[in-house]
């Protein structure tokens, strides 16, 4: 083909767009290629019902997005507004509930209503979570060091990590080991006595993961969900005004303003390697584009097992890629509602309905939901992270109408080893809807339209292997310098000129933009270009 680019980024999800924006900002001639007609990856707001109804089709809430990226890419100027939403509620089968209120005294009294002691323990729990989050946050915009390397940068980075850990006291080092290895269920048992109190904290430990609340490693996943912030309020979550697509749109506009070009509607068929160097991409339509740098925002398996010739890669490397844990465990149902559902347990117009709503009683019940996944079927008593963003964001639906986002776990990538059928997709949706109907009679009658996504749809539409929302499990074996795989944590691929910037890389998934930004910094360094990626803001 004709034009040669400095860089080609594969996949216009939020990390690809972030990466591309920093490369273009540094003056690189950057091409973004995207298989879908639309940009955004899993950060999209596509009209599926009517044009004036906005969904957040995949990702649905925002907290992890690095504020340094938000600011340095001028996303506010490009129209992005993140509005925090207050609270959460966990509704039990017996009609009781526990709410999480924004007001600290209300929040404490609400826990005290279930257990006086747990109300007090919550302060200790929050403190320990906050300690860990403060520690992790400072590394999000840093490239993980290679502990086997003797390069000065790796040694210095290891020393930096050690120093920062020691600063926080020896307890923190002990606690860190525990956080990364414990189950969320065991972890909560150390703080709380009331089952509903525990249940209310447990969902964050499994969201996006093919692990149960009793699986080791799930305590960390809770941290991963708590380490974000909205305007410095750590652990808070917000809605991107206008849906999650507003995030990718702002990034895309920024990328375009810096001179970036985008081709949509054609996925990459093959990353072209010549003489051990990645030199371009061949698209599904046969077009070829060439560049000095090829960056993949696709998942690790999709990049190396589907879009590269195995002969260009080392078999040992390929084996590690094959072993990468990226298991689908969740589904997503987006619903257009004719009104606000009325949950029997909740008071009328409860502020709690503006936040995450969960229908669980205990960690044991959640673990049983996981048992179904292991059996190769969707949970018959699923965990649902339920939100009605339109109660907060007036731009999503016509007045009085609502958009409801249901994140559902567990949903296996295949049913008993076989591909999903359309009928099963519908049955899955029925399971979820029936569940909600039990807690909110009349809910079904409010449904105007429904978009149902199992791991099959997530993989086919978004490209997430097996529908894993984090582009790979967030377990210790796949975190830090082992993410995505040992020896490849610094965003460079196995062939020269090739890089990875997706959530498969450190520090992992969520609409965070850290992988995209970190990869851009490495690329610009390799090219001896001025770094456009900001340093992380320190909390102190």
């Amino acid at each position: 083909m004709t034009k040669k680019y400095d860089a080609i980024v594969i996949g216009a999800g939020h990390n690809g767009l972030t990466n591309g924006a920093y490369l273009a900002k540094a003056g690189l001639n950057t091409l973004m290629v995207e298989k879908n007609e639309h940009i955004g990856g899993a950060t999209t707001s596509l009209p599926r019902y009517k044009d004036d109804w906005i969904y957040s089709n995949c990702s649905y809430v925002c907290s992890l997005l690095r504020p340094e990226v938000y600011r340095s890419l001028n996303l506010a100027k490009y129209g992005l507004q993140v509005v925090p939403y207050g609270g959460a509620v966990t509704i039990a089968e017996n009609g009781d509930y526990i709410g999480s209120y924004v007001d600290p005294d209300k929040a404490r009294r609400e826990v005290a209503r279930h257990s006086h002691r747990d109300a007090d323990a919550t302060a200790r729990f929050d403190r320990d979570i906050m300690r860990q989050c403060r520690f992790i946050r400072q590394f999000l915009l840093r490239t993980p060091p290679d502990p086997t390397s003797f390069k000065p940068r790796d040694l210095l980075e290891m020393m930096y990590m050690g120093k920062e850990a020691l600063k926080l006291g020896e307890d923190l080092i002990y606690d860190t080991m525990r956080f990364y290895t414990m189950s969320i269920s065991d972890f909560l048992d150390e703080y709380f006595e009331n089952p509903l109190v525990k249940a209310s904290h447990s969902g964050s430990g499994i969201i996006g993961s093919a692990l149960g609340v009793m699986s080791p490693g799930t305590a960390y996943i809770l941290l991963h969900h708590a380490m974000g912030d909205v305007d410095g309020s750590m652990g808070a979550w917000g809605f991107a005004r206008g849906g999650m697509g507003a995030i990718s749109k702002a990034m895309y506009d920024c990328f375009t303003d810096y001179g970036g070009e985008t081709l949509t509607g054609n996925g990459v068929d093959q990353i072209i390697v010549k003489n051990g160097r990645a030199v371009g991409v061949a698209l599904e339509n046969g077009d070829e584009h060439y560049a000095d740098v090829i960056v993949s925002n696709m998942t690790l398996p999709r990049t190396f097992l589907e879009c590269m010739d195995p002969k260009d890669l080392d078999p040992g490397f390929l084996k590690k890629v094959k072993n990468f844990k990226i298991r689908g465990s969740s589904g997503k149902i987006n619903i257009a509602l004719d009104g606000v559902p009325k949950f029997t347990a909740l008071p009328e117009n409860s502020e709690l309905a503006r936040g995450d709503m969960h229908l669980i009683d205990s960690t044991e019940r959640l673990e049983r939901a996981y048992d179904d996944w292991k059996d190769g079927i969707w949970s018959q008593d699923p965990y649902i992270d339920m939100l009605i963003p339109s109660l907060t964001d007036p731009t999503m639906t016509p007045p009085g109408k609502h958009f409801m986002s249901l994140f559902v776990q567990y949903v296996p990538p295949r049913i008993k080893g076989k591909d999903w059928t359309d009928q099963q997709v519908q049955q899955f949706a029925d399971t979820v809807i029936n569940q909600i109907e039990e807690y909110a009679p009349g809910f079904k009658d409010l449904i105007l339209h429904m978009e149902v996504r199992t791991p099959r749809e997530l993989e086919n539409e978004v490209g997430l292997t097996e529908g894993n929302i984090f582009q790979g499990e967030l377990t210790l074996d796949q975190l830090l310098f082992n993410r995505p795989i040992p020896g490849y944590a610094q965003y460079r691929g196995p062939v020269k000129g090739m890089y990875m910037c997706g959530s498969s890389t450190a520090p992992g998934g969520g609409v965070m933009s850290a992988p995209g930004a970190n990869a851009a910094r490495e690329i610009l360094g390799d090219l001896n270009k001025t770094n456009t990626v900001p340093e992380g803001w320190l909390d102190d």
Partner: protein, 401 residues
């Protein structure tokens, strides 16, 4: 009446009126309310500075209902408290009150508070922070019962030189014989009124505890009795001035409670707060003992000191410098112009071994006059004694004003 709502519709209010609310409202000319834990509290009723003088010159009344209160009972109450507290609780006899701190295993202060030995083996612990989880965590191996009864007890601090006379006029016969840190009971309108000679002002003063149902009548009788003796309702701003003069530290202001500390290095040990006198190593095992022994041997990281600062400007939020103004010695934690000591005074946390009595420092003070900001480096010295410590605080019986 118990006013805090813990039922399922508690969410309708973020904060609740105190049992004294109806009376506070009558006195609250400024119509400003602030929050103290679950309750509405008054920052100032009519003028914080004037209210301060009520406390020093006559009598100021402050609502202490929101203070967290616990009851500790059972055969092992004393050994349990000795395990929990740094001080030797066996020295607090029935009918006596003792100030204490409690630490985590690292010897860092979780909170400070007062231990009321209500009756043989029955203790009330008053604290700033909620403690029930920590207190219950420490129950293991002890036959004790612990309940938080914050909302079942209404409290008033009655502080100042005329406080004794007012209580006497209210009918509390023999109150003048109560010695500092003593407590006693009275029949009051058919209920029990507990009175201790304690307070947060460093002056003559009492604290009154009663069933919330009797809160209003207590307030009414108190103010009726005090009418001719200068009784005034007093808000939290005035109380803060009084407590700084008395050299009393405040959780969350002069030290970070260890249970809340996201940054554990920011917490303090009793020694680092000048409370070494509350640590009793010879009473056996207690929380933090090992760490505190090591600290005693190796030295502390900080000293909490009282500073007498030249000039007339309050040193709020100031940095304290080693003389010469180059090296930071620490920071001021509380500061004010003291009307009673007629001096600019402060509590400051300095890096040990800095902060010995008599040692001189410079305090960086930012101040403004009609919106023009200036900065002054004011010479300051560490003083040993509290800024306000009148003999009437200890005199028994107190003078009959």
């Amino acid at each position: 009446m118990r006013t805090v709502n813990f039922s399922s519709d508690h969410y309708k209010d973020a904060v609740f009126p105190s049992p004294f609310h109806s009376r506070q409202k009558q006195h609250n000319q400024l119509k400003e309310w602030t929050r103290w834990a679950d309750y509405l509290s008054v920052p100032a009723y009519w003028c914080a500075d004037m209210e301060y003088f009520s406390g020093r010159n006559a009598c100021g009344v402050f609502d202490i209902t929101p203070m967290v209160k616990h009851l500790v009972t059972g055969p092992d109450a004393l050994p349990y408290l000795n395990r929990l507290m740094t001080r030797d609780v066996s020295k607090i006899k029935p009918g006596r009150v003792g100030y204490s701190v409690w630490c985590n295993e690292a010897g860092r202060v979780i909170d400070d508070g007062t231990i009321f030995h209500l009756r043989e083996g029955v203790y009330r612990i008053c604290s700033q922070e909620h403690q029930i989880d920590w207190f219950m965590t420490n129950m293991l191996g002890f036959d004790v019962e612990i309940t938080e009864d914050t909302h079942d007890v209404a409290g008033l601090a009655v502080q100042g030189p005329t406080s004794c006379a007012i209580l006497k006029d209210m009918g509390l016969e023999g109150i003048e014989n109560l010695t500092p840190f003593g407590l006693t009971y009275f029949d009051f309108e058919g209920t029990e009124l507990m009175v201790s000679r304690t307070g947060f002002t460093g002056d003559l003063g009492y604290e009154l505890f009663i069933d919330p149902d009797y809160a209003e009548v207590l307030w009414d009788r108190l103010f009726a009795a005090g009418e001719l003796r200068g009784i005034k309702a007093m808000g939290s701003e005035a109380l803060d001035l009084l407590r700084i003069e008395a050299g009393f530290i405040l959780a969350g202001v002069d030290f970070l409670p260890a249970m809340e500390a996201v940054r554990p290095t920011h917490t303090r040990s009793p020694f680092e707060l000048g409370l070494g006198w509350l640590v009793s190593f010879d009473k056996g095992v207690f929380n933090g003992r090992q760490a505190l022994l090591e600290e005693k041997e190796k030295g502390s990281r900080y000293n909490l000191v009282k500073l007498d600062i030249d000039g007339n400007k309050p040193a709020k939020d100031s940095f304290v410098y080693v003389k010469g103004g180059k090296k930071i010695a620490g920071t001021v934690t509380s500061a004010m112009w003291s009307p009673s000591a007629k001096a600019s005074i402060a509590l400051a946390s300095l890096e040990a071994p800095l902060g010995q009595p008599g040692e001189e420092f410079e305090v960086e003070i930012y101040y403004q006059r009609e919106l023009k900001w200036s900065r002054v480096m004011a010479p300051a010295r560490v003083v040993k004694d509290v800024f306000w410590n009148p003999p009437r605080r200890r005199q028994t019986p107190p003078a009959d004003f």
